[in-house]
């Protein structure tokens, strides 16, 4: 049942989202009949069905495996919809931390979007139901789903973020998801895989941009915060609830610890979601860096001393300098927007934009340093507060990306998750870099648009292991190997059938059949008819029992004939013939057999002469001959026939000889009972 797709050597990579865009990551891999989906995100800028990746391009039912790299909405946002509302039947994996946070993050997302749109993709109940469908995978743990082997590497970026290495029929594909090779306060850097992938699917969010050094940016950040609060201003840091916010908290908590003079200035963190997920952060310290893991033995670094949680704006008394972290990170709406609008007119105050911002949001607008901003209610407010942009985004930059690629040496690179221009700039830069490097070998870089597939040829080579009895003798040229080829998950084993049980958990079985037929004729007639059917005809003495073709046993028991044989295609066919003979014996109303049950050789000779006369004319064959030898003459050529071994010789004409031979043998076969060669 090898489907055609399985034999194809084309690896298809088709982005259904995140192809030349940022958001709704969803990439399909197809190879050898296996289909894998990587991530299933939602577009933050769109709503309803429009925000989904282009999943109508594919048949959800055929997907074997779905891997989710991390908990950001643009990587797992449409997962509940996909798991609950489509015919998807495969298995879905993510890391433990991702799963724990996914549940809370999406519950929050549902709550927020509930007000915004009527066309809800899924409900809280759907989300709850997906929890049982999602399986977890530990970092470095190898899993095998229908022959697709995969494992996860730490990706940095956020807690639980994974890069997946997928191996199918020997071809390795690395999907980085979002990753960062710069160590920060709590996350480890993305690991460098120890095996080289054949295809690298890599994010390109920051393209050719190069980040500033961690120390510099932290100093700049704490410096700005310090400035704002010491001039008596309020410092607003709009952040996404999970991920970077924890990093900023660690920085601020440590900075406050070292600056006792700041102790009377409160730091607030306004996110109920982050509070909920703190338990997850406090638990999965094993996915964080060495520093945190060492510290956990003494005390938990995620139990902050100077940062207070703020339940909502109602609980906030705006009476003086403070630092407040509030979501959402791009100030589209919500608490961070409200605070911004009430503070932006005072030059003492300041806002620090700390993350990646998408075109069209207020945060992005602020970076162009406008004089006025629009409020949500439509008024215009003068922008007097200070605006700083310090990127804490944990995405790879050009330096990290090119270093990563140089070490991994993948022959094929597929860029995803990046704005169109940024992506093509990165592609050009990478090509330029490797063009000068002859040692590197050829590299192909692809940046497919959504729904456009990249097709890469891989000649999967099939190697089988010959085991057991078949392998006792070493392989030699021309040796014939016959046995059962067992194919499991792209692995081939060649075994002799008797050893199946020894090396696999399959067993060889036997099916024997016993068929009863009503028979009212005479046993003698039956015996006669059976005996003329098969040359291998044995009779059991004292009973009406015969064995034909050494395969089928016929027993006559009163008015029933019982046929017994062992099932096999050949055996079944013979049994059918015997059955037909029995039925014939039943219907033939002859009292007793008239002719002996032996092959009549004289009759054969008579027939042969008649046949040859028909073929070559009456004169060609002698009317009468003795013994087993005679000859045929036709058109001056003579063929000698020897009936003892059924051979025909004719020196002159090969065509003539074979015509005669055919006549001789075919006639013999049709008149004599059947014999079978016995290796069946």
């Amino acid at each position: 049942m090898a489907s055609a797709a399985e034999e194809l050597d084309q690896l298809m990579i088709r982005p259904l989202g995140a192809g030349q865009e940022v958001g709704r990551s969803c990439i399909m891999l197809e190879f050898k009949g296996k289909k894998i989906m990587l991530d299933c995100g939602i577009h933050p800028g769109l709503s309803g069905m429009d925000a989904l990746p282009f999943v109508d391009m594919i048949n959800a039912e055929e997907i074997d495996l779905l891997l989710v790299s991390h908990f950001h909405l643009d990587h797992c946002g449409s997962l509940p919809w996909f798991l609950q509302k489509t015919t998807f039947k495969g298995r879905c994996f993510m890391t433990h931390a991702t799963k724990a946070i996914y549940r809370w993050l999406l519950a929050d997302y549902i709550k927020v979007s509930n007000i915004a749109t009527e066309q809800m993709l899924y409900t809280e109940a759907d989300l709850e139901a997906t929890m049982d469908k999602i399986e977890t995978i530990n970092f470095h743990e190898e899993k095998d789903v229908r022959g697709v082997k995969f494992w996860a590497y730490h990706a940095g970026h956020v807690l639980g973020a994974a890069m997946f290495m997928i191996e199918m029929a020997g071809v390795k594909i690395l999907y980085t998801g979002d990753f960062s090779r710069q160590e920060d306060r709590h996350l480890m850097v993305a690991e460098m895989p120890t095996v080289h992938p054949d295809v690298l699917i890599i994010e390109s969010t920051y393209g050719t941009h190069v980040h500033e050094k961690r120390e510099d940016r932290e100093n700049r950040f704490t410096g700005v915060v310090h400035d704002i609060v010491s001039r008596g201003g309020r410092c607003l840091i709009p952040v996404f609830a999970l991920g970077r916010a924890q990093e900023l908290q660690l920085i601020l908590d440590e900075y406050w610890m070292g600056h006792p003079e700041l102790h009377d200035i409160p730091i607030y963190y306004a996110s109920s979601l982050a509070k909920k997920c703190m338990a997850v952060y406090q638990t999965y310290v094993n996915a964080m860096n060495e520093r945190i893991r060492r510290q956990i033995a003494v005390n938990n670094p995620f139990v902050f001393k100077h940062i207070q949680n703020l339940k909502g704006i109602d609980h906030f008394d705006d009476v003086g300098p403070c630092v407040i972290m509030a979501s959402p990170g791009m100030m589209q709406s919500g608490l961070s927007r409200e605070l911004f609008e009430s503070w932006c007119t005072d030059p003492k105050n300041g806002v620090i934009v700390a993350g990646y911002c998408v075109e069209g949001t207020l945060a992005k607008h602020l970076l162009s340093e406008p004089d006025e901003v629009n409020t949500m209610s439509g008024q215009k407010l003068p922008l007097k507060m200070s605006v700083d942009y310090i990127s804490f985004s944990a995405h790879t930059d050009y330096a990290q990306t090119s270093d990563f690629i140089r070490q991994l040496k993948p022959p094929h690179i597929v860029l995803v998750h990046g704005e169109q221009n940024v992506m093509s700039r990165l592609k050009d830069a990478l090509l330029r870099e490797y063009a000068d490097d002859p040692s590197r070998g050829p590299v192909q870089i692809h940046n497919p648009r959504n729904t456009v597939a990249v097709s890469l040829p891989f000649r999967g080579e099939k190697v089988a292991k010959v085991m057991g009895g078949l392998a006792v003798e070493p392989p030699a040229d021309g040796r014939v190997l016959s046995g059962v080829l067992v194919k499991r998950n792209f692995n081939y084993h060649l075994l002799s059938p008797d050893e199946l049980g020894k090396y696999t958990d399959m067993t060889q079985s036997q099916v024997s059949q016993r068929l009863s037929v009503h028979f009212s004729g005479s046993p003698q007639l039956l015996q006669y008819i059976l005996s003329s059917l098969s040359a291998d005809f044995e009779t059991t003495k004292g009973k009406y029992q015969w064995r034909l073709f050494r395969a089928v046993t016929v027993t006559l028991d009163g008015k029933t004939a019982i046929l017994e044989w062992v099932a096999s295609p050949g055996g079944d066919m013979l049994a059918d013939a015997v059955l037909a003979a029995v039925l014939k014996a039943e219907t033939t109303r002859v009292d007793a057999p008239t002719r002996p049950a032996k092959f009549d050789r004289m009759h054969y000779k008579e027939c042969l002469i008649e046949t040859l006369q028909e073929m070559f004319g009456d004169e060609a064959v002698p009317k009468f001959f003795k013994g087993e030898k005679f000859h045929v003459t036709c058109g001056g050529r003579r063929a000698d026939i020897d009936l003892t071994d059924m051979s025909v010789t004719c020196e002159e004409d090969e065509v003539f000889r074979s015509a005669v031979l055919t006549a001789v043998t075919k006639l013999y076969q049709s008149l004599s009972p059947a014999t079978l060669s016995r290796n069946d």
Binding site: E141, L481, S512, L579
Partner: protein, 738 residues
Amino acid sequence: MTSIIKVQTLTGSDGETPHCHLLQVDECRFLLDAGWDENFNLNYLRDVRKHVNQIDAVLLTFPDQAHLGALPYLFGKCGLSCAVYATVPVYKMGQMFLYDQYQSRHNTEDFNVFSLDDVDSAFDKIVQLKYNQSVALKGRGQGLTITPLAAGHMIGGTMWKIVKDGEEDILYAPDFNHKKERHLNGCDLEHVARPSLMITDAYNATYAPARRRQRDEQLMTTILQTLRGGGHVLVAIDTAGRMLELAHMLDQLWRNKESGLMAYSLALLNNVSYNVVEFAKSQIEWMSDKLMRSFEGARNNPFQFKHLKLFHSLSEVNRIRGPKVVLASSPDLECGFARELFTQWCTSAKNHVILTARTSVGTLARDLMTNKKKKTLSLQVKQRVRLEGAELEEYQRRELEAKRAKAAALAGDIDSSDESDTDEAPLATDGQVEHDLTLANGKPNPLFFKSSKRQHAVFPHIEERVKYDDYGELIRPGEFAVAEEEVKPEPVKEEAEPADQEMQDLSTVPSKCLAYYRTFTVAAGVTYIDFEGRTDGESLYRILEQLRPRRLVLLRGTDEVVQPLAARFAQVAEKVLIPRAGHPVDATTESHIYQVRLRDSLVSSLTFSKGKDAEVAWLDGVVVMATDQRPSDVTAPTDDAAMETDDAEEAIPTLELLPAEKAPRHSTVFINELRLSDFKQALVRLGIASEFSGGVLWCCNGTVALRRQEQGHITIEGCLSDDFFRIRELLYGQYAIV
């Protein structure tokens, strides 16, 4: 391609010796576990020491004394130095086990079998792995891949799968538990398909423990009765393995309002309890699916105990008023807080002692278990006491001399490190100690002292926390009082718990160890309730039957236990081996394997049919010793794996399609082991009536009968009718026919 495989047990396999075995696969020698008994009997390690130099890798299964107890000694004192493989929890918890063991011993005696540095240096060698993470070995182990699989029993518990060249797979699985428990999943047998060699222990082969429910009830009633009677319950349990299961269970029991246990105290007492619980909290991903789900769903960490209080010293526990339940280490009552509590409590009939594991012969716990009648015990009591009077003076004088000698030596060699092992030098003199200067002077505060005190890196300075309320900084009236006289600084006492001081006392104040015998009358009740969490005998048989290992090595277990097991599997397995102390058994098998490359034309000519979990096809091919090496860039699979071995590997012969007329005939092979009940299901789905009667499946109103003759032999019987052929067709559908 035949691999030489030998197994030798180094501590003696008979009976109940600790786990420590040597596995040789061709050149490579593994030490399977490095266990030691409870009392560090050096006899056990005699054989191990002989082999120390040959060992290439150590594989650890569980974090307890019986599986890794000898590790620090072997690394510290015997010069073992090789990679050690263990899962992350085994690494963490194993360290806790040994710290606790060391500290328990050190608290009462001069313990010098190994030091904490030995523990650390041994654990530095550990490569931490996740379940199902394969590691390809290098050097002498070239071609070998090791993979840890979940084994249950203790957190991180491992069964090791050792695979040679992708074919010979060895499973080392001692003390596994197939049952799901509260905090752990059962062992993971899914990833094991018929191992070629299985090494397991027969210790439990005839053991039939009480049912879980019954066992839990017994524990519950024992605890309740004792507490209500005003007595204490001592539960002797290990440091960080089975303790987690019991602690989790008891905490849940306490939470149950109807249990009526809330009024009593529940305490966990060992030297590392805080750290163990912290580590447990951060290892949820290694625990049972149920706990993980509840964590994902409700974010409640199962080891965030509500009722179980953590303690690190006896005096803290003694300060708790009223009846209490104390989980204390170690389970053998040979040392540690469990023994001290036992000596305190065993004389009162109100109290109760619960033993949770069958420890080795000769230990106090085992003694109590076997001799239930015995009421008087003569026990060695060990104590560490402060030096006093003349002894103290003598000690101080010697210390001073040592110091001077050292100073003299130092003067000569300034570069040499002065931070050596005089950590217990007492700097504190009599009189009021204001600051704990010893901390700054000695070695860093070891992990296992839970100390809420701040540590002062250079000199003592107490940071004052500024406290706020709604009106700003709290006003302390004292600050505004007119200073009439110089206020004498009060000794900073607020955080220095007396318990801490006591701990400090033991390790910093000159002390000596006493050991004397005292006779105890055991009046307290002693019950053994099995919380070992290992597979029972019956299940062991079942699991082995299911796995059908081709060869079986049975460790640990007396003759009467092992022999029936060996006899039972003599037919199933090709070889059943029972190693005896000092004699390696040879588990080598003849196995013939070579690889052939399959031509595409050959593969496309095959017709595969679906077998159980694989596809099968009959293949006729002819070997061609190909010399045409294809360009290597097209062959995708020869990647990194091949990169290392490419040179060594000889050319793989190619298998070409054999022309149909040349192919030898073969008899048809039916592959599958059909169960009639499955077939009945298939018939039901197609709406064909069938019923079982006397082991025969009658179909179509009894016109066709299916009978199972023996292993893998089915007979189909019937009269000539359409039904017969229809059923036969369906029956064929159940097989892969090639």
